[in-house]
């Protein structure tokens, strides 16, 4: 039986810009099962980041229903969102977003610190995550002593550290050259094989095609199925 990790129903989000309103997300419905590797692709301004913020519980929708592992996120008060983010979401950003003053392992420990895990246990867990992404030997390096690909591996290890049900990646290869991008995609594939659910947002078709399932986003609406290439060209 396929288990649902998250589901969205009729999610809408609009931004007011003076007189005009931008409908960033327009009645979106989406269901993701455990173990899936979903890619969401769309051009700039199509609403990808807005969607990612809502999935990642950084922001809330205006209307609609969003259920993440049984929790009705859209009904939660702002102050509970931090805990949800900490437990249920592992963020992987385009520009890595590591803390420059902290070493690789300290960065990975961060979500565990906010979860209240004890120091010894924390170090052990962080190190095992670094090993999983093949960078355990760089644990004590500062981010600026690492290459882009290595930094992104650290960021992935940090996303993994709390063992969240969803890894949420926003253009994770956007700042990397094509060879390093491929390495990072392999890391993500491996994690997916081990059972991690991944949602990846990108504007790059070649990256998008590597998912198990691809959804297009355009003008705040989702389109699933059909020839991705064809439709994407049409949107342009």
């Amino acid at each position: 039986m396929i288990e649902t990790v998250m589901s969205m129903n009729n999610i809408s989000k609009s931004y007011k810009m003076g007189e005009s309103t931008v409908q960033a997300l327009d009645h979106i419905s989406l269901t993701v099962s455990r173990g899936d590797f979903l890619t969401i692709v769309g051009p700039s301004g199509s609403g990808k980041s807005t969607l990612m913020n809502i999935i990642g519980c950084l922001d809330q929708s205006d209307t609609g229903e969003y259920i993440l592992e049984g929790d009705e996120i859209n009904k939660l008060k702002d102050r509970y969102l931090a805990t949800i983010r900490n437990k249920k979401i592992g963020f992987i950003f385009q520009n890595f977003n590591l803390l420059g003053k902290l070493s690789a392992i300290e960065n990975v420990e961060l979500p565990l610190i906010y979860r209240g895990v004890k120091a010894n246990e924390r170090k052990e867990m962080a190190l095992s995550c670094l090993n999983q992404v093949g960078i355990g030997d760089r644990a004590s390096h500062l981010p600026n002593q690492l290459s882009g690909g290595q930094q992104q591996r650290v960021a992935i290890a940090r996303a993994l550290a709390g063992n969240p049900p969803i890894l949420l990646a926003d253009e994770p290869t956007g700042a990397l050259d094509s060879r390093t991008s491929q390495e990072i995609m392999e890391v993500l594939h491996n994690l997916n094989k081990k059972g991690h659910t991944i949602i990846l947002i990108t504007h790059d078709l070649n990256v998008a095609k590597q998912g198990k399932r691809t959804i297009r986003i355009s003008d705040g609406k989702l389109y699933e199925g059909g020839d991705v290439n064809h439709e994407f060209v049409n949107i342009h």
């Binding site: 913020n53 990642g56 950084l58 922001d59 102050r79 931090a82 805990t83 983010r85 900490n86 437990k87 963020f91 950003f93 977003n97 590591l98 803390l99 003053k101 902290l102 961060l110 979500p111 610190i113 906010y114 979860r115 209240g116 120091a119 940090r158 709390g162």
Partner: protein, 387 residues
């Protein structure tokens, strides 16, 4: 997240930016150390004033006569002595003179007075005896040396029954005074005392122009003062020819002046502590803006508002506490140096040290709250987008 982890995290951040941390603390360091130094010096001078009161006696009146046409004599002194509010009267005649023992010379204040002078000025004899009334009757050339004077002229030798030359005349040393200490202009130890009548001859004067009156006790000082003034007006016809000064009043005034000064200095220094706190606030605000992205990242991976608030608050508190501790060290050091180089009295007050330390911690909390609150309120999406 527990407190210990927060504190560790704060130290981590502070260590990561030492120069900024130092500059942030500078205001607090200067504030705390100046409070400590200024109050220590102020209280020190208060204390030396107070000890002067005690060393002079609280029931002492000083009478100075400016009218030299009407002679004031031993008979007048005897009449004053008979008053029921008066315990002792000592006429004094002072002059700076050179004392000589062999080749050693010491120029000091030599005072001529009577046997009561010892009780009036609360002196005590460490060796030999004080001058007696018989010495006055026979104009004996005897001298009692202050402890410093004895040390200067005779070193470690016993000066008793030795002779010193005063203006070429031989004076027999009959006693030395106990070391009194205290620093209030006129030293009690750099002195010598001879019989009053001998001094009159030596200084070629027959008039009495100054004398001390010791009241029977400190409660009687005001009565003695009134009785004395009435008598003096009787002798001189008006109150312009003499003045009666209550030692206690002078000292009270001096001590209240120096207390006020201490409070003033402490107050000014406290203001600098507040300025130091504002310095912390400024730099924390800058730091919040600079670290907007960091705050966004932390929030994205699960930091609650409370976590960010405590992080920044603890950073501010740790900074001000470290600054406070450095300030205490620096303050005590400077005070010590001041005491060594100026020889002045200083008083280390534990309560002031604790007070300024607590104050710096409180300043850290108060001025840390605003930036910390700002940081905790940042919305994660906007903070993440911040460049």
């Amino acid at each position: 997240m527990n407190l210990l982890t927060s504190i560790k995290m704060a130290f981590r951040t502070i260590r990561g930016n030492k120069i900024r941390a130092f500059l942030t603390m500078l205001g607090i360091i200067i504030g705390v150390s100046s409070v400590i130094v200024l109050v220590a010096i102020g209280q020190g001078s208060s204390q030396s004033v107070t000890s002067s009161i005690n060393s002079l006696g609280t029931n002492l009146l000083t009478v100075s006569i400016s009218d030299t046409d009407t002679p004031f004599t031993q008979d007048n002194i005897d009449e004053i002595k008979k008053m029921n509010t008066v315990k002792n009267v000592s006429p004094v005649l002072s002059s700076r003179l050179s004392l000589k023992n062999g080749s050693t010379t010491s120029t000091i204040n030599v005072t001529g007075s009577n046997a009561s002078y010892k009780s009036v000025r609360k002196l005590s004899i460490s060796n030999g005896r004080f001058i007696s009334d018989i010495d006055l009757d026979y104009r004996q050339k005897v001298i009692v040396l202050g402890s410093t004077t004895a040390q200067t002229l005779f070193g470690n030798k016993n000066p008793i029954n030795q002779y010193v030359l005063v203006n070429g005349d031989r004076y027999k040393v009959i006693g030395t005074l106990t070391y009194k200490g205290g620093s209030n202009g006129q030293s009690n130890d750099d002195t010598a005392i001879i019989p009053f009548t001998t001094a009159q001859r030596l200084m070629q004067t027959t008039h009495i122009t100054q004398f001390y009156v010791q009241a029977t006790n400190s409660n009687m000082v005001n009565f003695a003062m009134n009785q004395l003034s009435r008598y003096m007006i009787q002798v001189y016809g008006d109150s312009d020819s003499f003045s009666v000064v209550n030692q206690q009043d002078v000292m009270n005034t001096m001590s209240s002046v120096s207390d006020t000064l201490t409070m003033l200095l402490g107050g000014i220094a406290s203001i600098s502590l507040i300025v130091g706190g504002i310095g912390i606030m400024n730099i924390m605000f800058v730091s919040v803006t600079e670290r907007t992205r960091e705050i966004g990242i932390r929030k994205a991976i699960g930091a609650k508002r409370k976590d960010i608030l405590t992080q920044f608050l603890i950073e501010a508190i740790v900074l001000s506490i470290i600054g406070g501790l450095i300030g205490i060290g620096l303050g005590l050091g400077i005070t010590k140096l001041y005491a060594i180089f100026s020889g002045g009295t200083v008083v280390y007050s534990l309560s002031i040290i604790l007070y300024s330390f607590l104050f710096s911690a409180i300043v850290g909390i108060i001025f840390g709250v605003f930036p910390a609150n700002k940081a905790s309120k940042l919305r994660p999406i906007e903070a993440l987008r911040f460049e």
